[in-house]
Amino acid sequence: MNEIDEQLREIIPRLRRFAVSLTRNPSSADDLVQSSLERALSSWGDKRPEGDLRAWLFSILYRQFLDAHRRSRRYARMLEFFTGRDDAQPSVERTVMAQSTLQAFDQLSTEQRALLLWVSVEGLSYKEVAVILDVPTGTVMSRLSRARQALRQLSDGEITSPSLRILK
């Protein structure tokens, strides 16, 4: 039990980082990590596959995020009603010129952010990513290629806002 907890404690900072990159919000990121850990610990015995613990936890967190995201879109109207504003969705203003890689990264789609974090930052293998996303390795590679191109374009500022274009 303690050995597992030690392993988990080492991975938690990585889970939090991944969660922030998905939610773009530290406090909801921690909620996401917490519910993912709960899910992981309660299904430990029968569901935990052999192999990289980190990859398994990433996959749980990613699914929980997608589920929550779907739910939150469905309840976005109610949320808006409750809080007076809609903070379930990230800003729609995605046309701002990206000045840094991180800003560019933040403009990518959810799956592209996850892919780049898993592969470029965490160094997971294509195979592990394929298991998480439940797609063939070839699909992972072509999606990764597209994510990289998108990041490149955004970092170069090739996608500029329409107003800037008009001013030129």
Partner: protein, 250 residues
């Protein structure tokens, strides 16, 4: 073994250190003679490096004690126990229901369809048992109406119960089958509590004629207005409860 010239996939695999040594050397030789492709690959590598650098700080945030595995384990254990406890309650209820037959059945039928049952449940949960904490508490110059207006601006105003010594002290948002609800708790000097409860009439637009009913030790006054349903819930034995009944301002 990959074929030459390397495909784009092979180049990505090269960037991600996912090629075997032989393939890796092949790609390196190829890149040495293809400056354009090499520049492209370098740009990808730089992006990856920058991303790693930019995100490395996020690993050194202060730990959140709520996320400690030992604590989460404990919490899970408590939850399981609570589920077992509610399962036990359910079993007892079924047992009792079996014994007392139709009477119990009718009771549940009535309570399921009785108006503003949720308001009374909310009173029990919040005002009596204190299970759900308040979202908003009135400080010295706090404005309960202002808080309520943030969510229910078109609704009836909060009734003024200061004549009976009751003042609004806290508010709580709830979600119900009929939509979002809010409950405001009034308290008097000796700690008696009355609640004001407002929510949408629900998908069937179930508006209520003015009425009153009691359930156990609680009494509810209910009505509809400005597109919402309302209830005021208080203990039946409270003198102020009689006054609520007589008040016609709602």
């Amino acid at each position: 073994m990959i074929s030459m010239p390397p495909s784009e996939r092979d180049l990505h695999a090269y960037v991600d250190h996912q090629l075997n040594d032989a393939d890796r050397r092949l790609v390196e030789t190829y890149l040495a003679n293809s400056p354009e492709v090499a520049a492209q690959v370098r740009a990808w590598q730089q992006d990856a490096q920058q991303l790693r650098a930019a995100m490395s700080g996020a690993l050194h945030h202060t730990a959140n004690p709520e996320l400690d595995p030992a604590l989460i384990r404990q919490r899970l254990k408590r939850q399981t126990r609570r589920h077992l406890a509610s399962a036990a309650v359910l079993l007892i209820a079924v047992g009792v229901g079996g014994l007392s037959g139709w009477q119990a059945r009718e009771m549940t039928l009535v309570s399921a369809s009785a108006p503003m049952t949720d308001a009374m449940q909310a009173y029990r949960l919040i005002a009596q048992q204190g299970i759900l904490p308040a979202d908003y508490k009135v400080s010295d110059d706090g404005d309960m109406q202002g808080w309520l207006d943030r969510y229910f601006s078109r609704a009836n105003r909060l009734p003024d119960l200061s004549d009976s010594g009751f003042r609004p002290v806290s508010g709580r948002l709830l979600s119900t089958e009929q939509g979002p609800a809010a409950m405001v708790v009034y308290e008097d000097q000796s700690g008696h509590k009355i609640s004001f409860y407002v929510r949408p009439p629900g998908p069937k637009n179930n508006l209520l004629p003015r009425g009153s009913r009691s359930d156990g030790e609680l009494q509810a006054e209910y009505w509809s207005g400005a597109g919402y349903n309302y209830a005021m819930v208080s203990p039946s034995n409270l003198p102020a409860a009689q006054r609520l009944k007589q008040t016609t301002q709602f």
